[in-house]
Amino acid sequence: MKIRPDPTFHASPKLAMEAPVENFAFTVMLGKDASQHDGLAVVDLRADSEAYGEIVHTVMTPTTGDEFHHFGWNACSSALSPLSGHAFMERRYLIVPGIRSSRIYIFDVKEPLKAKIHKVIEPEEVFEKTGYSRPHTIHCGPEGIYVSTLGGGGADGTDGPPGIFIMDCETFEIIGRYEMDRGKQDKHYDFWWNLPQDYMVSSEWGLPPQFEGGVVPEDLLSNKYGHSIHFWDLRARKNVQTMDFGEQYQMALEIRPAHDPTKSYGFCGVVVDTANLQGAIFTWWRDKDGKWKSKKTITIDPRPEDPENLPELLKGFSAVPPLVTDIDLSLDDKYLYVACWGLGEMHQYDVSDPMNPVLNGKIELGGIARETKHANGKAFVYGPQMVEISRDGKRVYWTNSLYSSWDDQFYPHQEGGQMVMATVGEDGRFKLDPDFYINFPEGHRAHQIRLEGGDCSTDSFCYPSA
């Protein structure tokens, strides 16, 4: 038990931006197939270190077939919430679920160079206590750690809808399901919230049979993936409004609310519009009557391409869809980064006016039938995918893997894991750092990145940036 709050807890986004910069990054590695072990890579980001920009420590799991994906902290700045007053937690553990096996690993990263496995929650415990499977997004919030899942019960995860469950933030015991009234929600992916305003927003990918073996083209063309987001009364655990973007907006994935808790808007990325293969970003907001509204504020066009250069799945379209697979919002709510995994581009939008985003910068890297090399001349396989921004907004890191079976479908014959970084100047100019390039160990893919002391997709703030 500590006497003072953890120094990495920040009352407001502004204070988090002014805090010391990250010394380490934690990136999940997943085996290239189910015979390989997954693990956690610790990347040295200390500017004065000889090992800057290198993997300095890895922790491998004893199991296989877990497929690490997203992960999160046991505690973040939300511990300073004046309501739950849990300020004496330590930001120390990373909760890393395997979305294929439903096994959950808890890593102790108090000493990053000696990071180790702290606890393992076996899949049976998840199934038994929640009736859910395939755990995914992690956020620490009221009453404990919230974990979203992609599957319900049964072998293929379609016995009942998926949802969110809560874990104790100290013992990591699974407490049980979150939802009291889920309304129309029958698929799940990401979720995030505004704690003082007491709302949560959740999104939809698809059910396990729609993604585990790869994207199912018939389902995609008949618009059977998720295309709605759900607004919840967070503490009442009740779905208060389901917003359907329209059925052609397939796979509404990442939810990024404004970090400033006085604001009532945010963004959601849509992978593909099946009417025209565009990628899309919707801005959602709450109007004066308390109703949630949304508007498509960014569209990204597909690129025409000779079918000969395209993977089987895309040959019929003669085009490369952008495939917006991840988005991330800087802590000052100014820049939204959009990963176009198909095109092979990372976009930077100025979203100071969230209703009128302006494309401010763009980096080409990898991509289907383009395979743009890194500034250092080396290959970047697949395309820009999981993106994470430093707290001060000056460094943007990203990796390249989407999901094992999808990587193989969209990029057959490619293999490997890379992590790169771009810098953002005082004037907002966004450019690739030619010296930062991490090649992951042979046989491993690279997925989500977490930064020591918090980043732009983990911390929830309870006080505005005054």
């Binding site: 739950s84 007053g85 849990h86 100290e170 003082p196 309870c462």
Partner: protein
């Protein structure tokens, strides 16, 4: 001598109020966040009044049952010893069970009266006042209850009820004053950094305070006042 110890007891009421007020767990950061979220001058005083009301209700709802008990049960010393033991037990419970009351996280952020009431109850804030209150009641009693007539008993009862309200009011005013002072300093001078800097873990100190106050209650029951 008697007046002096009564004065000391009233100071204890005030002091416990100041102590509760500066404890972030009793809600002053909520007043700061309300002011920042609403960006209106009235938001902070409104939040402080709501927190005070919740705290007052928690105090009075703990004190009044004891008022009733000393009226109905003619065993003043036993009640005071029992109350002291209860407060000690609460302290020991809080020392052992260091988890945070999960119920507080379930309250809607706008329902500050309810939140303040539950926070005070969960931390045994009202219990901390009981031995002090019973000490004050002891001063009000002209000898033993059983020796007096019906009318005297009734007047004693109303005296004790008045005392309960006075104790709860004085304590809540002191608490609100202290909490408001910290909230104003944080909001107008030091800014949000102050919230992290001033947030000390008082859990152990708080639990020890409860056991000390309980011990004092038992001691004073035997020593006369």
């Amino acid at each position: 001598m008697e007046d002096l110890s009564l004065t000391a007891l009233w100071w204890a009421v005030i002091f416990s109020g100041l102590y509760h007020g500066i404890n972030p767990g009793m809600g002053w950061p909520l007043a700061v966040s309300a002011a920042l979220m609403e960006r209106k001058h009235g938001a902070m005083p409104k939040a402080l009044v709501m927190l005070a009301l919740g705290h007052f209700i928690a105090m009075i709802s703990i004190l009044l049952p004891f008022t009733l008990m000393i009226f109905l049960v003619e065993r003043e010393i036993e009640i005071r010893v029992g109350a002291g033991a209860l407060v000690i037990m609460m302290g020991i419970y809080l020392l052992i069970n260091r988890g945070h009351p999960r119920i507080l996280a379930r309250v809607h952020p706008a329902r500050l009266v309810l939140w303040s009431f539950l926070a005070a109850m969960a931390h045994g804030a009202g219990l901390m006042l009981v031995p002090i209150y019973l000490g004050i009641c002891g001063h009000l009693e002209p000898g033993s209850v059983s020796a007096t007539g019906h009318a005297a008993a009734q007047s004693l009862m109303s005296n004790n009820i008045t005392a309960a309200f006075m104790v709860a009011t004085a304590h809540t005013l002191a608490m609100t004053g202290a909490g408001a002072a910290v909230a104003v300093i944080a909001y107008y001078w030091f800014g949000l950094k102050f919230i992290v800097r001033s947030w000390f873990n008082l859990d152990i100190l708080w639990a020890i305070s409860l056991t000390l106050v309980g011990t004092f209650g038992i001691y004073s029951a035997y020593s006369g006042h």
